[in-house]
Amino acid sequence: MSSAVRAFEPLPPRLFARYRSGMAKGYLDVEDDIAALATPPGTGALAVVRATGPGSVDRLARAFSRPDALRAAAGYTAAYGRMLGADGRAVDEVVALVFRAPASYTGQDCVDVMCHGGQATVADVLDALEVVGFRGALPGEFTFRAFYNGKMDLSRAEAVSELVSARTSEARADAFSRLSGGLSRELSAIKAMLVRAAAAFALRLDYGEDESPEDIVAELPILTKARAACEDLADSYTVGRVLRDGAVVALAGRTNAGKSSLFNRLLKEERAIVSSAPGTTRDYLEAELDLGGLPVRLVDTAGVRDSVDPVEAEGVRRSLLVADGADAVVYVVDATVGLSAEDQAFLAANPGAVMAWNKVDAPEAGPVPAGWIGVSAATGFGESGLAASIRSSLLGGRESDGAATARIGTARHRDALIRAGSSLGDAIAAIESGEPVDMAAVDVATALEALGEITGETTSEDILESLFSNFCVGK
């Protein structure tokens, strides 16, 4: 079972950042009591430290000012008290919410410790837990235990790991639709097609030429359709990935084209960028924003210009690299200056770029050329049109309506779908080159096997079931 092995792959580490090192412990040490920060690191009113394991309640009680109250707590009840550090002094006032096995996320006893936000406080609480013998959780270890204890199956476990790392509400909705079966419905439709195709092959494998249709060529349409469906869903990975990991959008253009003001306009902030990357204004700046539901990292690159200034030349080189690595590029031109040879060269090299005709409201601005979007960083004119173009550039025309269209979110699913599609392509090629039906059948079986890595195995009984319900066979 390949999926069993995959359960060991680290899930996204965002929640489980602390205590990565230490004892050479593995996921299979499921009797260990483990703990980790469960809310994003940084400053907030509250932070939650999650602890789980068969002895987690007792162990936590040893660092708690009211140990008996905690030990006696039933599932779904809270105990108020103070976390005590190594020297016995209180490090924070906390509320400990107790879950009892098996009615918990992990299936084991579980305590969510709500402490005050702030990195120092959280560090103190985690230190206090370490003193009483908690081990820092490995990435995804809580979810692994949930899987191990039968609280969720593998595809739900994957979706959960994405849900917790999802950055915007649309991304959360996407991960959530998988949990609630949106993806599995789409996959079932593809599986049904593949099973139907496999049944058409089985018909010719299982019945003689005097009893079953001869021409396997007749099955080409369903194979073609199934292949297209696999490829489409595999392509949706880009969208799924953008939703989960966020997209990099680069603002490019010549110096003084207005990139920085457009950058600020899109961020809806007039002040200087807080999280600016190290470097000078001639290097590049970046910030995160929510672009109509898409998590986007916007990068303002230095101007594209062959410069003799070594610092600026380095900035230009880097910004071209950023544009290369970006999921979308917005190329900004000053409408009052017009297109230069440098602009033409950049656009020829980046044909998919979103083209912004900036300062369009200036009296001396030239008319908006075809394919360009007229914008004004100063007034905000054209901003929504620009945002829409960036979205559609990122989604590759798969405009998200925000509703229930399922998308795959993991590379594992994408890989399986690509292999399925490619095996179907082999089957089609085998049939077209006149290879016998039993050879192409191997390719169809390979496709079904690949899909089975996501949907669960297809048995020969499933195929025969489809055969018997679709064809009149048997003497």
């Binding site: 999926s3 204890n149 199956d153 089985a202 494998l205 039993d438």
Partner: protein, 614 residues
């Protein structure tokens, strides 16, 4: 003990089980209700067919009888699916039914260490704790002791026949059911269920206008099933084809309520792949005709078998609809078609050795296990017979894998999935079907037969000669270089100049040519051996692809599970999975993964648990 092994039933499973046990040196008694009925073919007069032909050749390769029996009594031979690929080609032969049964009886009676005894088994003798079988109890009150018992009762265990409103306690029309054993097994807690199958009417050949039917001739070049035979000869009778029509269907529809299948009188589950004509008419109302194969039952009988017309409608209705078919206006029905319902024991109760999980020394084979078909029965019979003998000798059982044989696929299927309808072998069930070609059966299984001790000296010697010859053929084809002259003679060779012929044969256009015309040296060897080498070479790539596809299967199958593993102690396994796993007690993770209702994530969980334990 009176005997080492007692085999209950003289059908296709019982014959192989009894012969295998006796040939392995075990004193064996075959108990049958009627020695005259040994080897009778209850239904169609043919052996082999797709995947079934592979089973016959596998039984033969191990040292069984079925291939020899059909080779001696063939009246028509066809290699099915000649126009398709090698994995789906299989031999089928029409048999002279009475000659086949006579040959079977003679082989059983001529076997040293094997006795035939006429009585009906009504119960088993078990040890005091019920954990071991110690013999059988018969209808006439005899207790016969044995160290192992093989039940191969076919359709006779509590058999009941249905023809319209007519009912009879019979296993075959006119032959009384075996009453008692089914009830004994039920009372002892075995999971006994009911299954149903059916057979069509037989009509008098001289009452049919055979000239009005399509002719279906046999292949001129007949090939033997048995690897012990060099050639196949014998008399030749043709089969014919006709069709039902709208009139036939109208009569069936008008009388559908009188079919015990539709009136609810039959509770046993019938085979979907071999539906009765009334099933087909109801299920596929858009079809305006169904194909019927008209097959002779033998050389010295005037009866014809109407393949595709199985029915349990009242006799007069069968009579009426048969006469709607072209050429059958005046047809006289000798025997009506009928449905038969019988007891079977859910094979999930067996280990892959076919030994019972609840009673040591007890084996079951054939329709008793819910399968259907002569070939399926024979294949289980030989495995049950071998394993009964091995167990007595204190040796581990023979368990053939899914990767090496159709037999392994079938047994793994039934002991893992159980049988919810009569189980039939299908090519599509075998993951490694490209490797399981019928002509490779000896290369796969004769070494096994030799190791077990069932393959005769003659078979072993022939096999050794064949392997040497195939090596020589491979060398011959590798040494023959495609030259410019070849290309000049035939442009097909142009892309292959300089290559060995063995490589050029991967090109389908080269493979289709007569190999002897290219390399006359090939003419020195039997055609099947040369063809075998060519097929190996030609489809090497696909066989490898198929191997990769089932590699995961192999890995899971290699992870052993203890028969007494307590799944209820594994937290997180769904309760349905625990129940299924405890019921099946799989011997490998692979088998566990194939149990219906056991979810992939549960298998993943088990894999993790096993890894954690190490």
């Amino acid at each position: 003990m009176d005997y080492d092994v007692i085999v209950v039933g003289g059908g296709h499973a019982g014959i192989e089980a009894a012969l295998a046990a006796a040939r392995l040196g075990r004193s064996t008694l075959l108990v049958t209700q009627n020695p005259d009925a040994i080897g009778r073919m209850s239904c169609n007069p043919a052996i082999g067919g797709l995947s079934k032909g592979n089973l016959v050749r596998e039984v033969d390769a191990l040292g069984g009888q079925m291939g020899l029996l059909i080779d001696a009594t063939t009246i028509q031979y066809r290699l099915l699916n000649r126009s398709r690929g090698p994995a789906v080609q299989a031999p089928r032969a029409q048999a002279d039914k009475s000659a086949y049964a006579a040959a079977a009886r003679s082989s059983v009676e001529g076997q040293r260490g094997l006795r035939v005894y006429m009585d009906a088994v009504t119960g088993l003798v078990a040890s005091a704790d019920g954990a071991r079988v110690e013999g059988v109890i018969t209808e006439r009150g005899r207790r016969i002791g044995a160290r192992a018992v093989v039940i191969a009762s076919g359709t006779f265990m509590e058999g009941r026949i249905f023809i319209g409103e007519h009912r009879a306690a019979a296993g075959r029309l006119g032959e009384p059911a075996a009453l008692g054993l089914g009830s004994w097994l039920r009372a002892a807690g075995f999971p006994v269920g009911r299954m149903k199958t059916g057979t069509p009417a037989r009509v008098k050949a001289s009452s049919v206008d055979l000239g009005a039917l399509e002719l279906q001739a046999g292949d001129p070049d007949r090939k033997p099933f048995s690897f012990l035979n060099d050639e196949a000869t014998g008399p030749e009778l043709p089969c014919r084809i006709t069709y039902t029509n709208e009139r036939t269907h109208a009569i069936i529809r008008a009388n559908i309520g009188r079919s015990p299948l539709f009136s609810g009188d039959i509770t046993g589950k019938g085979p979907r792949y071999c539906p009765s004509i009334e099933d087909k008419v109801v299920k596929f109302p858009d079809r305006d005709r169904h194909q019927i194969f008209v097959e002779p039952e033998g050389l010295y009988t005037d009866e014809l078998y109407l393949n595709g017309l199985s029915s349990s409608l009242p006799e007069e209705v069968q009579d009426e609809f048969i006469r709607t078919m072209p050429g059958f206006d005046e047809a006289f029905m000798v025997r009506p078609g009928y449905a038969v319902e019988y007891d079977y024991v859910d094979p999930v109760d067996l280990y892959a050795s076919l030994e019972s999980k609840r009673m040591a020394g007890l084996y079951m084979a054939g329709q008793t296990n819910g399968t259907s078909g002569y070939e399926e029965a024979a294949a289980q019979g030989i495995v049950a017979g071998i394993n009964a003998a091995l167990a007595i000798a204190g040796e581990p059982p023979l368990i053939l894998s899914r990767a090496e044989s159709y037999i392994g696929v079938m047994i793994d299927d039934i002991v893992t999935l159980g049988a919810k309808e009569p189980y039939r072998m299908f090519t599509s069930r075998a993951e490694r079907r490209l490797a399981l070609r019928h002509d490779t059966a000896d290369r796969r299984l004769t070494p096994v037969g030799m190791r077990v001790g069932l393959a005769s000296t003659e078979r072993a010697e022939r096999f050794g000669r064949k392997l040497e010859a195939m090596d020589a053929i491979r060398a011959l084809l590798g040494a023959r270089r495609i030259s410019q002259e070849d290309a000049a003679r035939d442009p097909v060779f142009a892309p292959h100049v300089g290559e060995g012929l063995s490589r050029a044969l991967r090109d389908p256009r080269v493979a289709e040519m007569d190999v002897e015309a290219i390399e006359p040296g090939a003419g020195a060897y039997p055609e099947e051996w040369v063809t075998g080498v060519i097929l190996d070479l030609r489809y090497e790539g696909y066989v490898a692809k198929e191997g990769r596809l089932s590699a995961r299967l192999g890995k899971l199958d290699a992870t052993r599970l203890a028969a007494d593993f307590d799944y209820s102690t594994v937290p997180g396994l769904s309760s349905e999975s625990v129940e299924k796993l405890l019921a099946c007690r799989p011997l490998s993770l692979g088998q566990a993964s194939r149990i219906p209702g056991v979810r992939p994530s549960d298998v993943a969980l088990l894999a993790v648990r096993i890894a954690a334990r190490r």
